[in-house]
């Protein structure tokens, strides 16, 4: 199976600081890849490059085999790469339907006043929320009144409106309690079952071990290790993240 996204030699400088250095990475459909690393390892930089909010200084990103230019977050979305930010980027004053379709509303033709096709959007919202088993009491409640897990669910469902190939999740469980965390991890598995590529950025190694098919470790801007599920221990992971024993790493250094 051809890779969904292939990254080769991706490099990014901030002034004189090399935030990301010759990173190679491939992402596939139906696979959850976890991106881990200490603060300053380059995780956020890699996300920004893939989300289109920053441009790489060197290296290339291929989507479905062809080299792409990431000009803006819009071009990333157009390529089927959708990012769920840590702060979720939801409008708390709007309901789930309006949030899901924010900036991509369906409207009727000119003869019917170009009004919002609320009923269609509600039906679609219901379908998408259902596909990831996100439960809401009402589609009309402002999302600011929902729980953290529900809000995370809505933010992920929002990515699904455009039928993405790859969903990037930035610290999806950071601010959640135990039940809500389990709920979000289940959400990630369902996303994978829908044949999406998923990349999860996380500090929480328990989450990583729970959902990731592959773990990529960044340290000081370089990829230092790559593990497949079941072929590493927590110690391997911690070692690679902190740089304590790099020789134990199973992947490319």
């Amino acid at each position: 199976m051809a890779d969904l996204v292939t990254i080769t030699g991706l490099t990014k400088f901030y002034g004189g600081v090399r935030a990301l250095s010759h990173v190679d990475l491939n992402l596939n459909r139906g696979e959850v890849v976890a991106l881990v690393g200490d603060n300053g390892a380059g995780k956020s930089t890699l996300v920004k490059l893939l989300a289109g909010t920053e441009r790489a200084d060197a290296g290339e990103i291929r989507v479905d085999g062809s080299v792409v230019k990431m000009e803006s977050s819009r071009s990333a979305v157009a390529l089927g790469i959708h990012t769920v930010y840590q702060d979720l980027s939801l409008c708390d004053n709007l309901d789930a339907v309006r949030n899901l379709f924010l900036g991509q509303e369906e409207i009727s033709g000119i003869w019917t006043g170009r009004r919002l096709r609320r009923a269609d959007m509600e039906a679609e919202t219901h379908r998408i929320l259902g596909s990831l088993s996100v439960k809401l009491r009402s589609l009309n409640t402002p999302v600011g009144r929902l729980s953290g897990g529900q809000r995370q669910g809505i933010a992920i469902c929002r990515a699904l409106v455009t039928n993405p190939k790859l969903v990037l999740l930035d610290e999806p469980t950071a601010a959640l309690g135990i039940t809500q965390r389990a709920e979000v991890l289940a959400l990630i598995r369902r996303l994978k079952d829908q044949n999406c590529g998923v990349m999860v950025i996380s500090h929480d190694l328990r989450d990583v071990q729970a959902v990731a098919d592959r773990v990529v470790v960044l340290r000081l801007g370089e990829k230092v290790a790559e593990f497949s599920a079941g072929q590493y221990t927590s110690q391997d992971l911690v070692g690679a993240i902190t740089g304590a024993h790099e020789t134990a790493a199973g992947g490319a250094a």
Binding site: L88, D92, N93, G103, R115, T179
Partner: protein
Amino acid sequence: MSAHEPGLMAPVVDTSTVNRSFGTRVSDAMSGGFRVFPVVIALIAIWLIFYSQNPAYLSPENLGNLSLQIVTTAMLALGVIFVLIVGEIDLSGAALGAVCATLSAQVAVNMGQPIWIALAAGILAGMAIAGLEALIIIFGVPSLITTLGGMTAMLGLLLVVLPEEFSISLGGNPYEQIAATQIPASLSIVLAIVASIIYAVGRWAAQRRSISDVSMMRRAVFPSVVVAVVVIGVVTVVSDSSGLALPVALLILMLVVASYFLTQTRYGSHLFAVGGSRQAAARAGIPVGRMIFFSFLILGACAALAGIVEASRLLMVSPSSGTGSLMLDAIAAAVVGGTSLFGGRGTAWAALLGALVIGSINNGVELLGLSTEVQNFATAGVLILAVAIDVILTRGRLLPRRL
């Protein structure tokens, strides 16, 4: 909103609504369709108090007067609501309206142009000046300061655009017909019935295929009946003595268009999104700066129309135009009617409801010959109560969290 309502989707992980406190329930209910209830109850209370003191208060003549008195406040409040929804504020609207009224009076009286050219000139000037303010705000100067400065600048500009004798009399000019024209009662009632039918059909069409858990009864039939009773009733009463005044009809038209725009179109949705979270809106591809600019253009047009109607009613423009309590009344009306000062929440109808509350107090105090301080205290109390309700809604609970 109620916890007992059979939901479309059963709550499984809905921890937010388990063990909801009374405060949360109240706040939940009011953030939904019940938001207007406290305002309507306050309005009825005010009417009953003044009616018990003097039955003439609710006479068709006085209600007709009241409707004319609130028109300018409501028009300006409508513009303020657009600016509040995107999370900004405006203090310059009343003074801007006076400048626009003076400009259009110059065009109509001193230049002898047809009335429609004068009106267009006034409205375009309002949009241009408000647009300029918006550019400064988008650049980064807070709207409170920009429009505070704008207000002072407008009062200066007013002296510049006024002629040497510092006032323009509008008597005898077609300009005076703006406020003086009456639509015959029979025609206005027919218009009210047609408007109610259009509203009901629109509601029904929007809800027909909805899978929402809120029933057709609550989303379409109930609002349609309420709107029909209120619109037809108000028009019948207000136009009883001498017909429906043109400014009142214009206000109703503006409210209907604004309400459609805010609730039924994509751009309306984007205005609320910008007020809710600038970053989320920007990440969703919404041009945040353009939406702010746009809201100020609407404010400019509303301010100009308010100023023009006021000038036509007073039959003159002078240096004192736009300096009274109009600006603060309009902001108070927007907030009392249910528009949030924190951005992202509000309806077009808040302009009418809020202006009615403020106007009813002013009118009643005048009718009973009470002193001005009573009016000031009553208006202040209503305003602070309204903002307190808004605070409860914004934080989602009755009492502040302990720190």
